[in-house]
Amino acid sequence: MQDVNEIKLETRDAVTIMDIKGDVTAFSEPFLNDAYQSASAQGAAKILLKFDSNAYINSGGIAVLIQVLAQTRKNDQVIGITGISEHFKKIFHMVGITKFAQIYDSLNDALAKMA
């Protein structure tokens, strides 16, 4: 039972949106890394991770996301998050992800504040 993520890249108002379809687990690592590398190769300075509102994100997925955060920090990129449920907002805050990535309530809110 391996997860497969479809991740579309779209740039709007100087923000590169990584639109992540599906659950985020340890199996997401190659998909997220590939999408992140593609975004960076396109010169993305501001990256917004957009999740499905009903996505299941487990500890393996959190580890993968934090590895992406580490790369954005190295590459001096701004990163935001949107689309996650209230539960995962709480989880991301507990884990400390919000120290490195702002969480936005909606895509429009993210674009308005990140652009």
């Binding site: 199996f27 500890s59 934090i66 580490a70």
Partner: protein, 143 residues
Amino acid sequence: MSASSDQQKIEITLPNRLGYERIAMASAESYAKMLGLAPERIEDLKTIVAEAAINAMQHGNKQRPDAWVKVSMTVTDKEIVITVMDQGEGFSAFLPDPDIDRIVNEQDPPVGFGTFLIRQLADQVKIDKTADGASIVQMTIKL
């Protein structure tokens, strides 16, 4: 899955494969809804069940494909008690809390989030061992 109506106990045996924790999560969600647990606590319950099952698969059973993980849930008038048992060599303690600053700076590996979340979200957590060395993680969520 089996249930005893007098004890309201649920037991699920999962294959030792990542992803199957979702079966236990779905059962926990249904069980908690029947018991009238608040929606935000149902989400907490799903997370601790999933993370304890993942921990059992990876660290207890060392990812052995022929092993299983048993998840049971019982209820009292005050709490839901969730027990997750592996078949492995067992572990005596959870990993220390992850330090995200050190992880982002690549000074620590990105591990320990599952057990951290269990400790944060459950009202009580206990780790025990069976006579043959398997681990039992018992977690409670207050009603």
